[in-house]
């Protein structure tokens, strides 16, 4: 008779949930009880009970797997757990010092993280093009007749086609130039970056085309390709093919047909645009005629796509071929120029597209995003490194000074068989943990301050940069690096203690920590040097703002008269004259123009300003010799000119009066026209304060040559004046954005880069002094702690609070003083170097150094006193009682 079986599904259930090692006995028990119950109460009830028992066995204590018992864990985790425990206890034992350590490290890490982001963004420029490594920009390099280096990134019309036709290794060329142009929608107008490009644009560059045919979209001169952002702004959709967009064409708006939609270029692209237009559409008929064969003009960027897998050595051959082609087409022109200007050497070179952004030899202009210099990356990395170094020194100092308390622990560990390697491992591991701990606030700090840093660095850094595998890898490397730098030295020192000595003697017998002082001095040297740099930057900026530049700027605003509306500018000027709140009006050409002139057949370069008869008077530039230009005199508007002092000194014969001298101008047809000097004006700062005064020549300009309108406002009626201007502007020049700039701000804009450096340096210096101060605070705290008894005894014996305070502070302030004495020459030298790049510069007086020194000393005194006064005021009864 087969024995009765329990319900099969219940057995399955049992096997499914039961821990393997319990299955046998439980199943055995179940089976035994089942058989027994079959006999006692019958099959049906037995089966029922069986199910109930199985369900009752489903409890965690029985389901639990038994891995731990079968394979006990590796025994050395016990030691690791001990390390963790001890590290944690040490951290909690002196929360103040631990906080100093972690805060300092966090700040240092955050600084480095910022700089990593900055540098990463810098080197990521233009990396997204599929053929990036085959792309080159044609640049000009050579030596001028005066022996100066010529480096020019701009080329003209013929280079691209000629090089592509004459060299088989050039697969394609593309000429690119861009301007800000007005785009109009209904009554609103706004400036957008328009780039004129050859039809090959999408063969060279990998901008993502969302709609349109890349082969044909730029063939029609009336076509325009817009970015998806533009499409959304102007049409609310990216489905915009064949729609019309109105763009300013110099005085009137013309409608162009949209033939393509391209994804908005990323922010780390040198080519950034809102609209693309066919290159041919940018050339006026007459310009086409003369510029087609003119190799000497430079007003656009020529890019070449070379054939794949070109060895770098072949680039030189290519450049030689370029020289041959240059000579073939432009030889005559070059010979003539050499005759006029003296011997010069000039050749075309290939600038790798990928390194373009960081190559500051060749300017990125004519529509390209401004380049950067690798110098910025280096300087910033240096500053971040210094801040991290300061934090690291804090870490080393506090760890070592605190370690005197841990001598017994180290002694016991050694006696119980710890090797030196194990101890080093333990202490480096502790540093690693602390660095990890510091990493969290650092990340939060970076996250919170990223927008501010982006503005400061003039970049569009986003938090996404933090999440790329590259960044994460860099940060991991950073943690390891910090651990190694800050952890290894203390670990070596600590693990070197002799157990017999530290266990036998009292802790006071262990030699005191002596490396701390030089490290503290080093910290303050760095901090003070940065502070001196900051003070000099601020001083120079104040100097720039207040420097006498030779002309008046106060209360004067400047307006840009848009392209094509220069004649309306004249109407505006007349409309504004004698209106309430407006004192004077004048016009001038914009930008810094320069031209080549001939004096006795010798070519000279000079700045060239087209002004109206009011301008010089308007900005108070006096005429030293001769007379000014008069608007109603035909000779003055045709052929009479003014020159500045530098022009007269440098180019005109000094033995006779400058008045009446003849300067020749050559027109595009090669015909020369005589210009007669009728007056000499006083020098004024024509360009930035970095430069010496340059020769400048003034001519009366025609209305269409002057796109700047200047207005002097009555300082008491500033608002009314500005309103009057805006009303008149809107009436006379409709459909144009209105904006104005105060001349005083213009000067600061010239130094926007320096201003950013000023802010960065200020922040860095403040951080440095903060971290150094934290370190000092920590060291004083420890000293006071170790000398509690001594202070108590001294007080009992009659020392006053002041004396004890002086004793404790004195030694630390001495260190700061030493640091100051070391920092002054370094700071002086560095400041000198920077100031030498300015022709106009502040005096580097001793007062600057003294005031920096005094404020640092005061800061240090404050830091030290906080602890030392507390110690000196302590009741000796308390400090001496415990033993």
């Amino acid at each position: 008779m087969p024995s009765p079986t329990p319900p099969r599904f219940a057995t399955y259930l049992l096997h499914w949930f039961l821990a393997a090692h319990r299955a046998e006995e439980l199943e055995g028990d179940l089976d035994e009880l089942f058989q027994q119950r079959v006999r006692e109460v019958g099959l049906r009830k037995a089966r029922w009970r069986y199910i109930r028992d199985v369900v009752s066995l489903m409890r965690p204590s029985l389901i639990k797997r038994q891995t731990v018992l079968d394979f006990p864990g590796p025994t050395h985790t016990a030691m690791f757990r001990n390390y963790f425990k001890i590290a944690w206890r040490n951290l909690l034992r002196s929360p103040g010092l631990s906080t100093i350590n972690i805060v300092g490290l966090s700040i240092g890490l955050a600084a480095v993280m910022f700089i990593l982001l900055f540098v990463q963004d810098e080197v990521s420029y233009d990396r997204f093009h599929a053929h990036g490594d085959r792309l080159y920009r044609v640049v000009l390099n050579g030596t001028s007749p005066e022996g100066n280096e010529i480096a020019n990134g701009a080329t003209g019309l013929p280079q691209g086609p000629a090089f592509a036709a004459g060299m088989p290794e050039v697969t394609a060329f593309c000429r690119v130039k861009g301007y800000e142009m007005l785009v109009r929608q209904n009554q609103d107008v706004e400036y957008h970056q328009v780039m004129y490009v050859d039809t090959s644009f999408f063969d060279l560059f990998s901008f993502k085309l969302l709609a349109g045919n890349p082969r044909t979209l730029l063939n029609d001169p009336g076509s325009v390709v817009i970015t998806d952002d533009m499409a959304r702004t102007y049409f609310g959709t990216t489905d915009v093919l064949n729609k019309l967009l109105a763009i300013d064409a110099g005085g009137n708006f013309e409608n162009y047909r949209i033939t393509g939609v391209v994804k908005t270029p990323p922010t780390n692209s040198s080519l950034r645009f809102d609209l693309l237009r066919p290159f041919v559409a940018s050339l006026s008929p007459d310009q086409k005629a003369w510029a087609q064969s003119d190799w000497s003009e430079g007003f656009l960027n020529t890019f070449l796509l070379l054939k794949p897998d070109m060895p770098t050595a072949d680039l030189q051959t290519t450049e030689q071929k370029m020289a041959t082609i240059f000579e073939k087409y432009a030889g005559q022109q070059l010979a003539q120029l050499r005759q006029e200007q003296g011997a010069f050497r000039v050749a075309h070179q290939l600038q790798p597209f990928l390194s373009m952004h960081l190559d500051d030899r060749y300017e990125l202009s004519n529509g390209l995003e401004r380049g950067s210099s690798s110098v910025y990356s280096y300087v910033l990395s240096g500053i971040a490194g210094l801040i991290l170094l300061l934090a690291g020194i804090n870490f080393i100092n506090l760890t070592l000074a605190r370690s005197l308390r841990r001598t017994k622990e180290i002694g016991i560990r050694k006696v119980t068989g710890s090797t030196r390697q194990q101890l080093i491992g333990q202490f480096v591991g502790e540093t690693f943990l602390l660095t990890l701990l510091a990493f969290v606030p650092a990340l939060i700090l970076v996250y919170v301050l990223l927008p501010q840093f982006s503005t400061l660095a003039n970049k569009a850094l986003t938090i996404q940069y933090l999440l790329t595998p590259q960044t994460v890898g860099l940060f991991a490397a950073l943690i390891v690096l910090v651990t190694a730098l800050a952890g290894f030295y203390p670990a070596r020192v600590l693990s070197g203690f002799n157990p017999a000595k530290v266990l036998y003697g009292r802790s006071g017998l262990v030699r005191s920590y002596s490396t701390g002082k030089p490290l503290l001095v080093l910290q303050f040297v760095i901090a003070i040097t940065l502070l001196i740099g900051t003070a000099v930057l601020h001083g120079q900026f104040r100097y720039i703002q207040t420097a006498n530049v030779g002309y008046e700027r106060a209360d004067r605003v400047r307006m840009y008269i848009p392209w094509g509306r220069e004649r309306q500018g004249e109407l505006l000027k007349q409309a504004l004259q004698n209106r309430p709140g407006i004192e004077a009006v004048a016009r001038k050409s914009g930008g810094h123009r320069a031209g080549t002139y001939y004096i006795r057949n010798k070519a000279v370069k000079s700045g060239n300003e087209w002004v109206d008869d009011q301008y010089l008077h308007f900005v108070n530039i006096p005429i030293l010799k001769g007379r000014g230009l008069r608007a109603n005199s035909p000779a003055d508007s045709q052929s009479n000119i003014l020159v500045n002092e530098t022009f007269a000194k440098r180019f005109l014969p000094t033995n006779q009066s400058a008045i009446g001298q003849v300067v020749q101008r050559q027109d595009e047809g090669g015909v020369r026209h005589d210009l007669t000097v009728v007056g000499v004006v006083r020098d004024y700062q024509y360009r930035s304060l970095r430069d010496k005064p340059e020769p400048v020549l003034f001519q009366l300009g025609r209305a269409e040559q002057m796109n700047q309108l200047y207005v002097r406002l009555n300082p008491t009626q500033m608002q009314a004046g500005l309103q009057t201007i805006e009303q008149a502007y809107r009436q006379i020049i409709p459909f144009q954005p209105f904006s104005y700039h105060f001349m005083e701000d213009d000067r600061l804009n010239d130094y926007a880069d320096d201003a950013r450096w000023k802010e960065l340096m200020t922040d860095a210096a403040l951080l440095a002094i903060l971290i150094a101060g934290l370190g000092l605070f920590g060291m004083v705290t420890l000293t006071v702690e170790q000398r509690t008894k001594e202070i108590g005894v001294r007080k009992v014996l009659g020392a006053s609070v002041l004396e004890i305070n002086r004793m404790l502070s004195g030694s630390f302030l001495k260190l700061v003083l030493v640091a100051f004495l070391i920092a002054v020459p370094i700071g002086w030298y560095a400041s000198r170097q920077w100031l030498d790049t300015f022709v106009y510069r502040m005096d580097l007086s001793g007062w600057l150094f003294i005031s920096v020194g005094l404020s640092v000393l005061f800061f240090a005194l404050l830091t030290v006193s906080f602890q030392s006064i507390k110690a000196a005021l302590m009741n000796p009864v308390k400090s001496l009682r415990s033993e």
Binding site: E25, D53, S61
Partner: protein, 108 residues
């Protein structure tokens, strides 16, 4: 502290292990309790109580040898430890002590 408190059911299980000395395994304990108390108990409840007792150190266990019945499966045999014995004695002593303290007049 773990192990000082013994629940009622745990006490019953511990006593059953002691009664079946030498042959105390899950099913045997179930049988013993059912016989002694006259009520049915779940195997799961017994095993989890045995587990707890073992964690507290009141019983120890080892796998027994092969058996002819129950499909040749082995049994886990439980044994009361010295500590378990002392715990039982303490409980008993406590009970006796309390019984003795009941005044004669309490029941009338």
């Amino acid at each position: 502290m773990k192990g000082t408190y013994l629940g009622e059911f745990e006490e019953v299980v511990l006593l059953a292990v002691a009664i079946r000395a030498g042959d105390a395994y899950g099913a045997a304990v179930v049988n013993e309790i059912e016989q002694q108390m006259g009520r049915s108990v779940n195997l799961g409840a017994v095993h989890s109580a045995l587990n707890r007792l073992q964690e507290k150190g009141l019983v120890s266990s080892e796998m027994g040898g092969m058996t002819a019945e129950r499909g040749g499966r082995r049994k886990r045999l439980y044994k009361v430890t010295a500590y378990g014995q002392r715990a039982l004695e303490e409980i008993r002593q406590l009970r006796n002590q309390m019984w003795d303290a009941i005044p004669k007049t309490a029941w009338s």
